[in-house]
Amino acid sequence: MALSIEELVTGADAGNEPSPATLREMFRYMVLARALDERMWLLNRAGKAPFVISCQGHEAAQVGAAFALTRGKDFTLPYYRGLGTVLVMGMTPTEVMLALFARAADPNSGGRQMPAHYSSRKLKIITQSSPVGTQIVHAAGVGLAEKIKGGDAVVWTSFGEGTTSQGDFHEGINLAAVHRLPVIFQCENNEYAISVPQQQQMAVASVADRAPAYGIPGISVDGTDVLAVYEVTRRAVERARRGDGPTLIEARVVRLTAHSSDDNDRTYRSPRELKSLRLNDPVARFAAYLHEHELMSEAEEQELRAEIAAEVDAATAEAEAAPLPEPETLLKHVYAE
């Protein structure tokens, strides 16, 4: 499938509005991320997948940002909600499902990690762990190496607003700022760290407010608007590639699900709040935009959704049928050769 990412970043029309084909491609990835995510919850509730953690509500923030990056060149360090990110960077639905079922062929970890701990050296997606924020200092380090090597790859990392309370958030951004490293820090602020709301996490209104303290630009953007996120990220990428240093982006999103399949958000979110979340659904919002601008008809949307449903079915079936890792592989890869 031909993507427009490279063309957007390196083409003569860089800086202009994405083409209609690109917009439809963005939509496709958002719908794909949503469809895979919803299927994972069904599989969890059916007892087939022990654990699911969602990207639902974050799709525009992730797809918009990833479209501003260059696949195969730029590094991503996406946190556990980054399904939309990794799909755009090249991970396939089958690979996502292989991780869900912890199959041997899972390219993220060979079934060693929980789902959504993304990794692929081929795709320059750097392996993630569960303690939050650890990837922020890695991102600074990848950027530092890029500067030492004299390369022009950009490093993009994501995390939630709760993670901004971690020391690694401060240490990583500070290092990147001091050395003007080519790193983009995207905070996907869904206002909850599991059950703890933003106002108990920080005394500032926006995570982007912290950027001036590091001497770097901070931008708060509506993270349910895929084009807005694309545009701010595109500028951050240009800045980084020019050698002007890092940018902190706060993408304000909604968390449409509980924290994970083991959480129940009805214990800390009001019924009214839960009901209102869908009013900010980024996928519905972008569908409406495409219809309004006559870039996609209802029939085309239905056709796309049917195609994606079939793709998700096929990925699920293939992954479920794939073998588990052999027990004797437990001892492999403790040390590299």
Partner: protein
């Protein structure tokens, strides 16, 4: 062969490796113009410039964490933690990240990185400039832990560590930096990570040590020789992966084993060595496997009287040797 001290051997290893491989860089507090608080990296900033000898912000988690990231982007960082006592804020990055990355990515990513740090006491460093940290990190699969005791070993092992595709914690006993001198060949050589080295062959009992304690054990062995007791002194050199074969072979030969370290006794590395000998060399033993370590107090105090009371020394070690020899 020229004689140099342990600190110069480490500097030479870094310098010679950096001259050969542009992917190698040094990253830590005060490593640049100042050349490190112990002067290990002295002269390297002028030689290699600010993008290869980088003064880090004063933050240990990002020193190790950024090195982890850099190692995944085709460079080979040598991170320095100024004192081993300050490594705690980087514990998560070293243990949960560096050590687990190859395993958790099913062999896809690796972290070719060295974390150098001065450890150990006897230099009036008090609680927070004297600690021994080896046991905590030697517990972690995925990390390699190296603790050389001579300039020759330090240079050869550090070169091996820099070339290794795994995270290596390189422990430098700070009291040995200038105290311990030795011959180091001018030609390029390596000491492989893993093998232990018998620094003094003997017949009556085996003593296992590393770092400063290795030298104290050699001194004590000399004393015991005058008393007619032949002591074999085994320098472990690498704590993980441990050279189990050499450890066991020595114990089987002499029938008696004593492990000496400066770290506090309970849960110390000596426990692991003692357990291995007890489990696999039991039939050959003529006495209990003994340990001599620092006392179980939180860390080494500042006052000379208290520091001396904490530190194992040649006299204390000789006493332990006599006790075991007489068993």
């Amino acid at each position: 062969m020229p004689e140099i001290n342990l600190l110069e051997a480490i500097r030479q290893a870094i310098d010679e490796m950096m001259a050969e491989d542009p992917r190698i860089f040094v990253f830590g507090e005060d490593v640049g113009k100042r050349g490190g608080v112990f002067r290990v990296t002295e002269g390297l900033y002028d030689k290699y410039g600010p993008m290869r000898v980088i003064d880090s912000p004063l933050a240990e988690s990002v020193i190790v964490g950024a090195a982890v990231g850099a190692a995944m982007n085709e460079t080979r960082p040598i991170a320095e933690i100024q004192f081993a006592d300050f490594i705690a804020p980087a514990f998560n990055q070293l243990v949960q990240e560096a050590a687990r990355i190859h395993y958790r990515s099913n062999g896809d990513w690796c972290v070719p990185m060295v974390v150098r740090t001065p450890y150990g006491g006897g230099i009036h460093g008090a609680l927070y400039h004297s600690q021994s940290i080896e046991a905590i990190f030697a517990h972690i699969p995925g990390l390699k832990v190296v603790a050389p005791s001579t300039p020759y070993d330090a240079k050869g092992l550090l070169k091996s560590a820099i070339e290794d595709n795994n995270p290596v914690l390189f422990l430098e006993h700070k009291k040995t930096y200038r105290l311990i001198k030795g011959q180091v060949p001018e030609h390029d050589y390596r000491v492989p990570i893993g093998p232990a080295d018998i620094k003094r062959p003997g017949e009556d009992l085996s003593v296992y040590a590393y770092g400063l304690m290795l030298h104290y054990c050699l001194e004590a062995a000399q004393t015991l020789a005058a008393e007619g007791v032949s002591v074999e002194v085994v320098d472990l050199r690498t704590l993980r992966p441990l050279d189990v074969e050499t450890v066991l072979a020595s114990a089987r030969r002499t029938g008696k084993a004593l492990v000496v370290h400066e770290d506090n006794l309970t849960g110390g590395f000596g426990g692991e060595v003692a357990a291995l000998i007890a489990e696999h060399a039991f039939e050959h033993l003529d006495g209990p496997v003994m340990r001599l370590g620092g006392p179980d107090v939180p860390a080494m105090p500042f006052a000379k009287s208290l520091e001396d009371a904490f530190m194992p020394n040649p006299q204390k070690i000789a006493d332990a040797m006599r006790k075991l020899a007489a068993y």
